[in-house]
């Protein structure tokens, strides 16, 4: 299949998955009704009675749509940043948390939970400490000018370890009856607390971040040939690397703002995308975005529907991700 064709197919699959996810829930809504409600929102042809329309609109637009949008954004953002980091660090085993963004965001959010009762403070903490952790990794990496990639990885390990320890401190100090369970539950990741205000605030920057990365994806091929080769092709390696790290960090920390820490997506999905469309980042990135979005959407459907109580989605993505990843690696070795 031609790559452009593949992207269209993946896009259609995502749309269908989103439509089906909209219809699934405690109160099932048929796809026909969904389309009718959507039709009513754009024109005012009365095709169903006012009361039913208001109920459906409340369920679909106010409750399910924000959550589905969040799942799509998170899945796409984590997968794209994972693919970017894997190419840039010339290592297929790298994930978006490499430079400490997830550890930093976890710490920031838990501090927010302790110092304030406001959800906004938690989100602000997650976002800002995600950035701070990556800045710390960059600062540590600048100690030595030799082998920038290796120094960045070391910086990320140090920064990640630092914020993980600080997170332990926060957990230790937290009130064990209310705050600690809240922190732990939040660290497992989940979309049950998502609201339309957050999604509306975050979706702009996430989409811009993803689109910018897609626009720059041609450079990732060159960067993954090694620094000096890239520079000999006239590419400003230092600037582009910082730009890629900046964009990937922004969108990764915004996923934490929306749904806590959701692991394995950013590692697993780029591999699946690579198996489908090959390693060329110009096609790999959009494919990873679409597959990641679909994957997280399905995972979230399972998380909210499988049992009468909701399963944290982070648990689900790692439990599914680990065996799946082993399978992918085995196939990749064969190919």
């Amino acid at each position: 299949m031609k790559p452009s064709m593949m992207i269209s197919v993946l896009f259609v699959v995502l749309c269908l998955t989103a439509l089906i996810s909209l219809s699934l829930g405690r109160y099932p809504v048929s796809v026909g009704d969904i389309l009718r409600v959507m039709g009513l929102m754009v024109s005012d042809q009365p095709v169903m009675d006012e009361h039913q329309y208001l109920i459906l609109k409340n369920i679909l637009i106010d409750i399910r749509l924000p959550r589905i949008t969040a799942a799509i954004l998170i899945g796409a953002a984590l997968s794209v940043s994972g693919a970017v980091f894997q190419s840039m660090f010339m290592n297929p085993l790298v994930s978006p948390g490499l430079l400490g963004v997830l550890a930093g965001a976890s710490f920031g959010a838990s501090v927010g939970m302790i110092v304030a009762r406001s959800w906004f403070v938690v989100q602000l903490g997650a976002f800002s400490f995600g950035l701070i952790a990556v800045l710390a990794a960059l600062a540590i990496s600048s100690i030595s000018r030799r082998d920038q990639l290796l120094m960045l990885i070391l910086g990320g390990i140090i920064s990640g370890a630092l914020f993980t320890s600080l997170l332990s401190v926060v957990k230790y100090m937290a009130d064990p009856y209310e705050q600690l369970p809240a922190i732990i539950y939040w660290l497992m990741g989940g979309l049950s607390a998502i609201d339309s205000v957050t999604v509306l605030a975050v979706c702009g920057p996430v989409l811009i971040g993803i689109l910018s990365l897609l626009l720059l994806s041609g450079y990732l091929n060159v960067l993954s040939m090694g620094d000096e080769e890239a520079r000999s092709l006239g590419v400003n390696v230092r600037f582009l690397r910082l730009l890629f790290i900046f964009l990937a960090t922004i969108i990764s920390s915004l996923t934490v703002v929306m749904g806590g820490v959701i692991g394995w997506v950013g590692l697993l999905i780029p591999h699946i995308a690579r198996m489908l469309v090959g390693p060329d980042n110009r096609i790999l990135l959009p494919a990873a975005a679409l597959i990641g979005a679909t994957y997280l959407l399905i995972a979230d459907d399972i998380a909210r529907l499988l049992f009468s109580i909701e399963i944290p989605i982070g648990i689900l993505t790692s439990l599914v991700g680990i065996p799946f990843f082993a399978l992918v690696v085995r196939n990749a070795r064969k190919g």
Binding site: S87, M90, G218, S224, E228, E229, S232, L233, G234, V235
Partner: protein, 280 residues
């Protein structure tokens, strides 16, 4: 063709002040030349190539390309004239040969870019010119070492470069591919391309180069016509090994280490060889 100065290296020193990698090097390169850099491991050959490319900045002295200092020319402009063909490397991702060649168009593109049909055509033309167009959809990681070097040369052509800087181009290739690659280089040089390459094979320099530069411990110890410079004394100075250069009946030259015993086609190092090996 009139040979004119293309690159001049003017009293260049590079490296830490106490133990510089390159010491006060002055050289000039002319259009259409094939220059081989010979030197033992760690003599500064690769560093020298990277200075020519503007990847490293000399601590002292300057590298001039057509009279302009390479550290002052914008990288994209350099890339349109000087191409780097790096040593055999392993890649984590198997991009298609075509995609690797397309990278050569980047110096001609704006910051946000998409490859146009013209870019695709240029890449295909280069692949055809080197008769490897049948490889265009194969993963770069799965073609042979010789084909990879050809891919990188195709990329250099697509860059529009007329100076090719190659780091041990035959490294890792089988003998047939080594010779084929060198013939290809000679062919391109006849069409006006300039090649500056490092090599560990004095034979290759004898057969396929116009000129050799011998580097030892960061200094140029010989520079000139390949046939004149590759001789017993220079080779001994360079490698600390006794090597004789023999002229064959048809006028070609080859290098042969001393101490090879003919009768049983068996290599037995003689005493002098051993002594100098230990002394090295």
């Amino acid at each position: 063709m009139k040979l004119m100065t293309l690159i001049s290296v003017d009293h260049v020193t590079y490296g830490y002040s106490r133990k510089p990698v390159l010491k006060d090097i002055s050289l000039t390169f002319k259009r259409g030349e094939i220059v081989s850099l010979l030197g033992p491991n760690g003599s500064g050959k690769t560093t020298f190539l990277k200075l020519l490319l503007g990847l490293y900045r000399p601590q002292e002295g300057r590298v001039l390309f057509e009279g302009r200092s390479v550290s002052e020319i914008p990288p994209k402009q350099i890339a349109r004239r000087i191409a780097y063909v790096p040593q055999f490397h392993r890649l984590a991702f198997g991009y298609r040969v075509m995609d690797v060649v397309l990278m050569g168009r980047i110096p001609h593109k704006p910051f946000f870019f998409q490859y146009s049909n013209d870019d695709q055509k240029a890449a295909l033309d280069a692949l055809e010119r080197l008769s490897i167009d049948h490889l265009k959809d194969r993963p770069y990681t799965e073609v042979s070492g010789g084909e990879r070097q050809m891919t990188l040369i195709a990329r250099a052509i697509v860059q529009g470069a007329d100076v090719f800087i190659m780091d041990e181009p035959v490294n890792g290739l089988d003998y047939g591919n080594q010779i084929r690659l060198l013939y290809r280089i000679t062919d391109l040089a006849r069409n006006g391309y300039t090649f500056i390459k490092t090599t560990h094979f004095p034979d290759h320099a004898l057969w396929f180069s116009d000129r050799v530069v011998m580097l030892k411990a960061g200094k140029v110890i010989a520079d000139g016509d390949a046939l004149q410079m590759i001789n017993r004394i220079n080779l001994y100075n360079l490698y600390n090994t006794h090597i004789k250069v023999i002229e064959l009946d048809d006028g070609a030259h080859i290098c042969i280490p001393d101490g090879l015993r003919g009768q049983d086609n068996h290599c037995v190092p003689n005493d002098s060889f051993k002594v100098h090996e230990l002394g090295a």
